[in-house]
Structure formats: C-alpha cells, structure tokens
C-alpha cells in the first residue's frame, strides 16, 4: 500500500508553499527598498502584487482541504498538511504588512527624512532572514534551525523599541516631524509583526516535525 500519488501531491504542496514564501520575502524587500529610496513606482508594484499572494493562499488552502478529504492522511503527513494551511495564513499576513509599508512609502513620497533610516532596513533584513530560514527548516524538517530562527525575533523586538525611543525624541523636539514620525513608527511595528509571524511559522515547523508544541 505504498502511496506514491499521495506523496507526489504532498511534495507539490511543499513546492507551492515555498514559492509563496519567496514571493512574500521579495515583497518585504521591495517594500522597504521603496521606502528607503522613496520610489513610489516600486511601492505600487508591492501593493498590486498583494492580490497574487491572496490567490496563492486560497489555492494552497484548497489543496490542503482536498488532500485531507481525498487521501485521509495521518501522523506526520496530517501534521504537515495542517501546518501548511496555517503557515499560508502567516505568509499572507506578512504580505499584507509589506503592502502596509509600501502604502507608507506613498504617503512619505515627498518628505525629507528627519534622520537617515538605519534600523528599519536592519529589521527588514532580519525579518527576511527569519522567513528564509524557517522555510528552509520546513523543507528539510530541521528542528534546530526552526528553534534558532525563532530566537532571532528578540533582535527585531529590540530594534522596534529602539526606533520607538528615537522617533519619540525627534517628535518631542519638533512637532512638524510628528506626521512622519508616526508613519515610521507604523513601519517599525509592521516589520516587528512580520517577524512575529515568522516566529509562528517556526513553531508550526517544530510541531510538524516533533508533534510537540514549543512557544517562543
């Protein structure tokens, strides 16, 4: 009773999830670049592309439901499918957050930044790395990598509060900077949330492999 067809379909599902993962990673990268370079066109591209991500989420969820209904998976196969259908929700949310950053780009298109953006791109880099690493852990069923990646979230949280303190100072000094300062605070929070979703993905990958819950 070797179930080749089923396992091929499962592999196909893995590939779809990875593809969506790399699209989301690219969305964060482009969104933050658009902000740094005040490139409205690039921001618009991120905003427009969000529909594609939403469609991907729906497609993968549908494939999961279909595999459960038609193949009655159990044990690690069932956990994998269940986790994939949860991971796509995290990915879709990260995509939304990238879109939110792109919207801020459009709002600040003609502003002069009150200070050079240093920590925001660092946050984005870590969030992207977390996303890459957790999907890598997913493909290779690598528990240690998932655990290490989840721990990276602390750095992002630290940067978030650093940005908060810094921007607060600027806004207190000059009320004209409040509008921009607020938008940048949002960006910091969007990226912090994106890293939280990547942490969720790490937890799901750990559960998928070990059948035990761990939280970070």
């Amino acid at each position: 009773m070797v179930r080749d067809t089923f396992h091929q379909k499962l592999e196909h599902l893995n590939q779809d999830l990875l593809k969506m993962g790399s699209m989301v990673e690219e969305a964060i990268h482009k969104a933050v670049t658009s902000l740094m370079e005040q490139d409205k066109e690039l921001a618009q591209e991120v905003i427009d592309n969000d529909d594609v991500l939403d469609d991907y989420e729906a497609k993968i969820e549908q494939e999961c439901i279909q595999l459960i209904a038609l193949q009655q998976p159990v044990a690690k196969d069932l956990r994998r499918i269940d986790m994939i259908s949860k991971i796509v929700t995290d990915l879709e949310r990260i995509g939304d957050l990238a879109q939110n950053v792109a919207i801020v780009t459009c709002e600040l298109e003609n502003d002069r930044f009150v200070k050079p953006l240093v920590d925001v791109p660092r946050m984005a880099e870590i969030a992207q790395e977390m996303l890459r690493e957790c999907l890598d852990a997913f493909v290779n069923s690598d528990v240690d990598k998932a655990r290490k990646t989840a721990q990276m979230d602390d750095k992002v949280d630290m940067l978030d509060s650093q940005i908060f303190r810094e921007l607060l100072t600027y806004m207190m000094e000059d009320p004209k900077s409040i509008r921009q300062g607020n938008y940048l605070l949002f960006v910091s929070r969007y990226l912090e949330r994106a890293a939280d979703h990547a942490t969720n993905i790490c937890e799901r990958v750990i559960y998928m492999i070990t059948a035990d819950r761990e939280s970070y």
């Binding site: 009773m1 070797v2 179930r3 396992h7 009655q72 159990v74 044990a75 690690k76 196969d77």
Partner: protein, 252 residues
C-alpha cells in the same frame, strides 16, 4: 485483573518449521476495542486465532507462551476447548450463516450447549438479535432462511449467533471487508455498543476503520508486534519509524 480482559505473554507460534509469531506480549483491556493492523502476512490473523485456539485445527502448528483470560492460561492444563470458544466468540471475514432459519442460527449455540426450554431460547434469540442491531429488521421473518437476507444483515446475524452463547470476548477477523459502506457503518456502530458488555479484538485491513472504532491499536510486521498503544497515539504520533511508514503509506 479486570474481568473479560486478555493478556498474552511471550507468545511464539510456528506453522511446522516456520516461525510465524515472535515473542508477542500484549494486553487487551476489558470492555475496550483493540485492533490489529499490518500488511498481509504480518501475522495479525494468526495471532487473533491463537486467542481462542483456532489454530489447534491446523496440523503441525505449535504455540509457546501464554494467553491469559482473567489470569488463566488458555493453553494450560484442564482447559475445555468447547468452553473456551463459548467464552471467546469469533466472527469471520465472510458472513457464514448456517443454511437454516434466522431463529435456528441464533439458537444453534445455546441448543448445542444443551438448552431446550423454548421460552428461554426465544428470549436469547430476541436479546441476541437486539444486541446485534438486527431485531427490528428480522423480527417478522424469524422462520425464513438466513440465506435470504443481505450481506450486512448476515454478518450481524453471525454476530448475534456469537453473542447467543454469552461470550466474554469477541474476536473479529476483518468483519466488514465483504460489506458495503452502509453495512460497514452499521457494524462499526454495533461494535461501539457491544464493547459495553464485551471485550472486542478486531483484525482489519482498513487503517481508517481501526482509527475510527478502536481504543487500542497494535501494529504487526513480519511476525513481530512492532508497536501498540492508544489508537490516538498510534495515528497521531507513533514512536516506531516502521509504524509511521506503514500508516502514512510509505511501505506495505
């Protein structure tokens, strides 16, 4: 030990020179359903048959170890096999009613054990058919031939026949493999009801069936008991790689 419970200790089984079961130890708790799964030829049916000494009928077989019912070894001295099979009933893959009336099929066992009282027999037949969830469908045609009812009804009749001698343990060897999904669902519901009064041990080729109906699942492979435990555990998080590979369809 609870009444109606069964425990196997260090059981080896041989067909002539062929060592078919290797040192099996397993508890089957009272009033629970235990199912055996595994690929064809893994020994699960052979093992089931050791539980009421059905293998005695096959020439050249040998058993080492013990099968304890309520603590007493059924391979020990002074065991009456007829009495053993009364206590440990069996239902087979293909429904095999006798070519007699529905009533006579169910009354066969009690009569063979010497019961003649018509009123008592009527009562046993009705109770057994009710327990087997068949009474409402056949109560108006108890005198018709058992060969004229559907496959699913025949299988429930065989269950009623097994229940009529008031067993403690019920062994079932793929009881639904010859039945359609509706008849299968009825038997599965019936098994759930029956475990209130009986300890049930079932061999099934359908892993989904084992997952649906059993409290405990044991996985056999090439004459070894690889893993056994609570059914949820076996299907959610098996400990042995072979079990996981089998239930997820990576070999078999």
């Amino acid at each position: 030990m609870a009444k109606n419970s069964m425990e196997v200790k260090d059981l080896d089984f041989y067909y002539g020179d062929f060592h078919a079961l290797h040192n099996i130890s397993l508890k089957m708790p009272a009033n629970k359903v235990t199912s055996f799964i595994g690929p064809s030829g893994c020994g699960k049916s052979t093992f089931l048959r050791t539980l009421n000494r059905m293998n005695d009928l096959i020439e050249g077989t040998r058993v080492d170890g013990a099968v304890l019912i309520d603590g007493k070894n059924i391979y020990g001295e002074g065991i009456d096999i007829v009495d053993l099979r009364k206590r440990v009933g069996m239902v087979f893959q293909h429904p095999n009613p006798f070519p007699k009336s529905i009533y006579d099929n169910v009354a066969y066992g009690p009569r063979a054990h010497g019961l003649k009282d018509k009123e008592k027999l009527d009562q046993i037949v009705e109770e057994s058919l009710k327990s087997a969830a068949l009474w409402d469908e056949v109560k108006d045609k108890l005198d018709s031939s058992a060969m004229g009812i559907s496959g699913g009804q025949k299988q429930r009749l065989c269950i009623a026949r097994a229940l009529a001698v008031n067993p403690e343990i019920l062994l079932m060897d793929e009881p639904t493999s010859a039945l359609d999904p509706i008849a299968t669902a009825k038997i599965e519901d019936l098994i759930e009801d029956l475990k209130k009064d009986y300890t049930i041990v079932i061999v099934t080729h359908s892993m989904q069936q084992a997952a649906r109906i059993s409290d405990y699942t044991a996985f056999f492979y090439m004459g070894d008991l690889i893993e056994h435990g609570a059914t949820e555990k076996i299907f959610e998080k098996p400990e042995n790689q072979k079990t996981e590979d089998y239930i997820t369809g990576r070999f078999g």
